[in-house]
């Protein structure tokens, strides 16, 4: 990449239902981040905000987010997609040389404001799918789970194992809104079916929250932190909208997004070269689909991965030590949270969830039904 860009610091706030106005949540979060890094809003050259109109119930979602995020009388723009795209766009602005320091903030009050499932309904083709009412977030995800099970001979229990692992990991994450330190596949199985084979505990919890990150170029990043997390590569790709035309057991767009990021980052063997991966899975079954597409595990290996603990904290390829989307899923901002969790890992700030010696991390974000749109960033402790 034509410039070295790093993440200086991250901040997160998450709850299952906020009791303060969203604008106040943003101010507290961003101000806290500025104070932690020792800068003011005047040190930020460009602001990139990230939220969704339908979720916040505001036409032009960022209209009331600008001032709380410190962007009053500043250079500001807004990405309306998963937070990973906001992080990528912020990186592009820095790469151009037009900016040296940037702030990216994603937020959602999806739990208290408006149900994420309904927000997803409005993503349906309004002339047909929305009218029929058969497809929705849960029904399409269930189809996706079944597709994987049928193709690879995997049982629901494997997904429940993944969910249980994520809930255990989430117990080590101070930001998670749902967790269970001793969760088992049995616990997940015992939770209500939301849409067979999806259980309540294998689906993401509604989460209100926000995530803010300061990015900077080379020298500036080193001035602001002694542990910059360097962005080595990034990419994204999109599949067809029509779920019936995709092989739901795999993810072409996740694979292509990964390939693009790996190419820039010089990664030829992700399973070996990635030390920790934060994948955006809204449902437990999406984790193997996406991880396999990213080359982290063999195709169809969910059972083996769960059985041998390969994705566990101490496994050969730790996935979502944060608990991932099942511990907390901030609608829209989630991809940013995955980046933030990689930052915690690479800075050695992940506490009990620390993957020891983590030097290279992968963050992933998704959008659309059955992860139609996927984005990947590769991060590293090494500059240049």
């Amino acid at each position: 990449m034509q410039r070295d860009i790093a993440i200086v610091a991250q901040a997160q706030v998450m709850t299952d239902s906020i009791d303060i106005p969203r604008e106040r949540m943003l101010f507290d979060l961003v101000k806290g981040l500025f104070d932690k890094v020792g800068i003011t809003r005047h040190d930020i050259d460009g602001f990139v905000l990230n939220s969704n109109d339908f979720e916040v119930g505001h036409t032009i979602a960022n209209v009331f987010e600008d001032t709380p995020c410190g962007a009053y009388m500043k250079d500001e723009t807004h990405v309306e997609a998963d937070g990973m795209w906001a992080a990528q766009y912020t990186t592009m602005r820095l790469l151009s040389g037009n900016y040296d320091t940037a702030l990216v903030v994603g937020n959602s009050a999806g739990s208290s404001t408006f149900r994420p499932y309904l927000v997803m309904d409005y993503q349906l083709n309004p002339t047909y799918d929305r009218q029929l009412g058969i497809l929705n977030e849960l029904s399409t995800a269930a189809l996706q789970a079944k597709a994987y099970m049928a193709k690879y001979g995997v049982e629901e229990d494997e997904f429940n194992e993944i969910a249980a692992r994520l809930l255990r990991n989430a117990a080590l994450n101070p930001y998670a809104v749902r967790s269970k330190a001793d969760a088992t596949a049995g616990d997940v199985l015992a939770s209500d079916y939301l849409y067979e084979p999806l259980h309540e505990l294998s689906c993401y919890p509604f989460t209100d929250g926000a995530c803010a990150m300061i990015l900077a170029s080379g020298d500036r990043a080193k001035e602001l932190t002694d542990k910059p997390v360097w962005i080595k590569g990034m990419g994204n790709s999109v599949d067809t909208y029509y779920v019936g035309e995709r092989d739901l057991a795999t993810s072409k767009s996740a694979r292509m997004a990964g390939e693009r990021a790996y190419k820039l980052a010089g990664i030829s063997d992700p399973a070996k070269q990635i030390d920790v991966a934060e994948v955006s899975a809204k449902f437990a079954h999406q984790e193997p689909i996406i991880s396999e597409a990213l080359g982290l595990f063999e195709e169809g290996s969910a059972g083996k991965v769960a059985g041998e603990g390969l994705a566990d904290l101490g496994g050969s390829m730790p996935v979502c030590p944060s608990g991932g989307g099942l511990g907390a899923y901030v609608f829209t901002a989630n991809g940013l949270v995955r980046v933030a969790e990689c930052v915690r890992q690479l800075k050695g700030e992940a506490g009990e969830a620390q993957v020891s010696g983590a030097k290279t991390a992968l963050a992933h974000g998704q959008d659309g039904f059955c992860a139609q749109h996927n984005a990947v960033m590769v991060l590293s402790t090494e500059e240049g």
Binding site: F54, M73, Y241
Partner: protein, 410 residues
């Protein structure tokens, strides 16, 4: 910094009140196809796509995902931008940065709106939705005008106050707004891609009633269905692929607080001041190496939802001193054959597919520089530098793109 140029533009065949013959992805794909035709490129030539509109106007969330196939976006990097009225230009800026970052070489920016399929009132009132309800709960009279409030200016809203303030500070008369309106509508009559294309005289404008004095019915913009697509490329790819180019030499954007509708937390911004316009244009001019825009800029495409705004933006963007714009209008300098042709396209005032409106401005400026204007509004003089401008939010967002016939660094 990497040089990036616009190598082509595509419009839907028309911008009209209601396209009943196509759905959203079909409509947008018309502009995508037009861009391919005009540049002789194919989808394989496109490395990445950016996409923008104001989604609450159609009631479809994340429409870029539904439209992905029609956009020829499959298997490509794809990104959605949404910044209210400035969306069109923010989406272009995103495409610009995709290339300026060094990561991509040829990027398509897609912008559009199909307001006829939604409810514009709902879309617009959604901007102030919870805040307005709080005010009403506390006794604000929404329509009767009694009490202390934040809603005023009738159906033109704060634009009426902005117009009045502009007239006061510039010394212009209300008749100058009529004159600017007639000029732009007459320009639009020459533009096959404009919405309101009836040749209009000052008398025609003055025959329309005042809604909120000094603003008349004839000073307001339409709502249009339509799409505008631009293709940008790096310098190397411009040489390989394009027979003409308009270089993006300067970009800038700035945000103030919501000038209206943030009543519950105090409104300090004067909607007539438009401080962000000064900030954004200063940034864009500096980047483009323009030291005196009033001398070096040859044409302007300004985002004017209301006719007085053309005159106001000329001053706020430094194209003339305060109080000079209406004199330039009187002298004929703003005409297509004048020294500073302003909104030769007819502006947003004549065509407003809101997600595309801020893209139409740089698109038109690019076509003018490349001398590829279809229709009768090609500016006769040579355009070396052009400024295009976008505006939106609650009177708070401004984006500026400065285009030139030569790239910035030799």
């Amino acid at each position: 910094m990497r040089n990036v140029g616009i190598i082509g533009v595509g419009y839907t065949p028309v911008f009209v009140s209601k396209r009943k013959d196509v759905n959203i992805p079909e409509m947008i794909s018309e502009a995508v196809d037009a861009a391919f035709r005009n540049t002789k490129l194919t989808p394989d030539d496109i490395d990445a796509i950016t996409f923008g509109n104001m989604q609450t106007f159609e009631g479809v969330n994340m429409p870029h995902l539904w439209a992905a196939d029609h956009m020829r976006a499959l298997d490509k990097p794809y990104m959605r931008i949404a910044t209210g009225g400035t969306t069109g230009m923010s989406t272009l800026h995103s495409a610009y940065y995709h290339v300026a970052s060094g990561l991509h070489d040829v990027v398509m920016a897609i912008t559009w709106e199909k307001q006829s399929e939604g409810d514009s009132q709902v879309g617009l009132s959604g901007i102030v939705m919870p805040e307005a309800m709080v005010m009403v709960q506390h006794g604000m009279d929404l329509f009767g005008g009694k009490g202390m409030g934040a809603m005023g200016g009738g159906s033109t809203g704060a634009a009426a106050y902005q117009a009045m303030s502009y007239l006061h500070h510039s010394g212009a008369d209300p008749e100058h707004i009529d004159k600017m309106a007639a000029l732009e509508r007459s320009n639009a009559a020459l533009n096959p891609y404009a919405h309101l294309r009836k040749k209009t005289s000052v008398a025609d404008i003055q025959a329309t009633p005042f809604i909120s004095w000094p603003l008349r019915f004839g000073h307001t913009c339409p709502t249009s269905d339509g799409a505008t697509v631009a293709i940008v490329a790096s310098e190397e790819m411009v040489e390989k692929l394009a027979d003409s180019v308009a270089w993006i030499n300067g970009v800038g954007c700035a945000t103030s607080d919501p000038a209206t509708g943030n009543f519950i937390e105090g409104q300090i911004t004067d909607p007539a001041e438009q401080e962000p316009a000064k900030m954004a244009s200063a940034k864009a001019y500096a980047m483009a190496g323009i030291k005196d825009p009033s001398k070096e800029i040859d044409m302007a495409e300004l985002y004017n939802g209301f006719a007085h705004q053309s005159l106001m933006w000329l001053e706020k963007l430094g194209l003339c001193k305060q109080g000079e714009a209406h004199k330039m209008l009187d002298a004929g300098a703003l005409n297509i054959d004048g020294e500073l042709p302003t909104n030769a396209s007819g502006g947003v005032f004549s065509t407003n597919a809101i997600g595309a409106s801020a893209m139409n401005r740089p698109a038109e400026a690019a076509l003018q520089i490349m001398r590829k204007i279809e229709g009768g509004h090609q500016i006769p003089k040579k355009i070396k530098n052009a400024v295009s401008h976008g505006w939106g939010g609650m009177f708070q967002y401004v984006t500026v793109t400065v285009l030139g016939d030569e790239p910035r660094h030799g």
